[in-house]
């Protein structure tokens, strides 16, 4: 992401009719089924005479508003007011006429401008207003190359989300996943990446060999995954910027189920020897591995807690697939799942308070969460088949994939990406050009 170098953000001065007005609007995202906040998002005002390689500045301003609208609406926390209802047309005047926005039912208002700078960059400013209090809630200014307008829109969405919920957003993020195509007897599974809203989609491998279970580095533009290159399943490290991949270590047995440590310095994974899978951690700088479990059962799907002190993993050492937690050095192994059925793919929330999992019982599959001590199990979704939750970087949304049953005519079996809020509401499909599975959410870009 070279664009980071040219991106400058600065807080812009508050212009407000009412001095130090208390913000009256806020969104409590810990509650389910919140009433979406009515928000008016105006096109950023720009000139149609100022041309860039990405169209006029006016068009960029309009498109930014559209992307912000789509981001906020998808979160389920906002309901954008149809611009055709606006009494005011967008204008450059810094202070809105709040009465006109109250009249259309808006509680929050987004205004802004876009201008072409002499050096060819675009300056984008936006302000978020509390319509009822008649005051500015936040305002930011960005400078960037015109081609980065979409990222600016996501940054604005994140700023609005943060100001109104008190928590970081997740809009300036990407999803790496497995793009699937072809009939079930001959399925092609390759690595692909896209923005969290599905734009800027790119295939990262050509499909000549299978890739599974990709995961983002929390600290760099790298992905780790299981690759079947050369018909030899092994864990790889892939650099998104250079497109280069390398095998992590050379081992006699298979390596799989990789995941980064929270500091990005290690990859934890399963390694199989003569059919038995145990968990190992590899220091990336030295490529030295440390054995963490040693048991004749299957130990797999390891995931660190946010500060790296603990590891949750999947094991059938108790006779069936269950979720366990241990210290990061492999000591103090405790089983935490005790409900009916099988439990798999535990993933620690970036907030640390929950572990998301896949559950299998009664011929169905479920995505749920429980506390790290195993209490408070809560099921969020169910279907014929779904698995592999990944957390949004703010720990408020889970993405996973669903697979549909085959029909009797050789059809069916589609895989799709879905997301749901931690509250259990706002379940949505994430559209992909082909079928999709194994989503992994990136951290917030910087």
């Amino acid at each position: 992401m070279q664009m980071l170098k040219i991106l400058i953000v600065s807080l812009i001065g508050f212009v407000s009719a009412t001095l130090s007005a208390q913000a009256v609007i806020e969104i409590d995202i810990t509650r389910g089924n919140v009433q979406p906040l009515p928000i008016a998002i105006t096109s950023l005002v720009g000139s149609d005479q100022e041309m860039t390689s990405n169209g006029s500045v006016m068009e960029i301003g309009q498109q930014i508003a559209q992307v912000v609208t789509a981001d906020l609406e998808r979160s389920g926390l906002f309901s954008a007011i149809d611009p055709r209802a606006f009494i005011n047309s967008a204008n450059a005047s810094p202070v809105p006429q709040f009465a006109n926005w109250r009249a259309v039912g808006a509680q929050a208002l987004v205004t802004g401008i876009a201008e072409l700078e002499e050096d060819g960059r675009v300056r984008v400013e936006f302000r978020l207003w509390d319509v009822l209090a008649g005051s500015q809630m936040t305002g930011l200014r960005y400078y960037t190359a015109p081609r980065n307008w979409r990222r600016i829109a996501h940054l604005i969405s994140d700023a609005i989300y943060k100001r109104l919920t008190g928590e970081d957003g997740y809009f300036d993020t990407r999803i790496v996943y497995i793009s699937e195509s072809g009939p079930y007897l001959d399925r092609i599974k390759r690595l692909a990446i896209m923005d969290q809203d599905g734009y800027n989609h790119k295939f990262l491998t050509d499909g000549s060999y299978m890739i599974l279970n990709p995961r983002f580095s929390p600290t760099s533009q790298e992905i780790t995954y299981l690759s079947f290159y050369n018909d030899t399943p092994r864990v790889y490290l892939f650099n998104i910027d250079t497109g280069k991949s390398e095998m992590l270590g050379e081992f006699e047995g298979m390596t799989f189920a990789p995941r980064f440590s929270p500091d990005g310095k290690k990859v934890i994974m399963s390694k199989a020897e003569n059919g038995n899978s145990d968990i190992f951690a590899m220091e990336l700088s030295t490529r030295r591995i440390q054995r963490l479990t040693s048991h004749s059962a299957i130990d797999t799907s390891p995931s660190y807690s946010p500060f790296g002190r603990y590891i949750t993993f999947n094991s059938d050492r108790g006779g069936s697939q269950q979720i366990y937690v241990m210290d990061a050095d492999g000591s103090n192994i405790k089983r935490i799942s005790f409900g009916d059925g099988l439990y798999a793919t535990p993933v620690w929330s970036p907030r640390g308070d929950l572990i998301a999992f896949t559950k299998q019982t009664g011929g169905k599959f479920y995505i749920g969460v429980m506390r790290p001590d195993g209490t408070g199990e809560r099921i969020l979704t169910e279907s014929y088949f779904e698995e592999g939750p990944t957390w949004s970087p703010n720990g408020r949304v889970l993405m996973y994939y669903r697979k549909y049953p085959y029909d009797n005519n050789g059809g069916g079996g589609e895989t799709q990406l879905w997301s749901i809020d931690l509250t259990g509401y706002n379940e949505r499909q994430i559209l992909t050009p082909l079928d999709g599975s194994d989503p992994a959410w990136s951290p917030l870009m910087e």
Partner: protein
């Protein structure tokens, strides 16, 4: 069964072709043009092909070593299990005899799972199954260096019938 029979005839004819082509490799290794000889007789010839021509080292041959419609290159497993049951042992004994009789053959044992499970766990389970097959063959006297294992987890189904997908497949390498 009929299909299998014809497939075998074709393979035998194909093997004969390969053998006759081999004689030419020295002087025309790069030449892909078929020799200007008369085409071989069509496969369903009234007189059976000579027995010594049968290539006993092919996948098709292995598949039919037990006859009676048994797919002798594949063993099946119960849900979430990797133990080799009596039927699987019968097949693996035949595989081991065949490997001992065909010392030039190396195999890859593929471990597979049904789709009613999570990806990562099934990769591990497939590895268990592949190694269960390998260990049985080794116990029956086959050299361990002749057997490579690979797990495809649930990623390579051959059927919409879950039981058919829980399998160890011995692939001639």
């Amino acid at each position: 069964m009929l299909n299998k029979f014809y497939a075998k005839l074709l393979i035998m004819a194909g093997a004969a072709l390969v053998l006759s082509a081999c004689g030419n490799t020295n002087d025309s290794a790069m030449d892909q043009t078929p020799a200007a000889e008369p085409a071989p007789a069509p496969a369903p010839a009234p007189t059976p092909a000579p027995a010594p021509r049968v290539d006993t080292t092919t996948q098709e041959y292995l598949n039919d070593i037990m006859g009676g419609g048994v797919e002798a290159d594949t063993v099946h497993f119960a849900f979430d299990r990797y133990d080799v049951d009596a039927e699987a042992r019968r097949i693996l004994q035949a595989q081991a005899e065949w490997m001992k009789a065909n010392q030039s053959v190396n195999v890859v044992v593929e471990g597979h799972c049904d789709e009613r499970g999570t990806r990562e766990y099934n990769i591990a389970l497939g590895d268990r199954r592949a190694n269960a097959v390998k260990n049985y063959l080794v116990a029956m006297g086959v050299g361990a260096s002749r057997i490579r294992t690979v797990s495809y987890g649930k990623e390579r189904p051959i059927s919409t019938d879950h039981a058919m997908n829980r399998r160890g497949y011995t692939r001639v390498n």
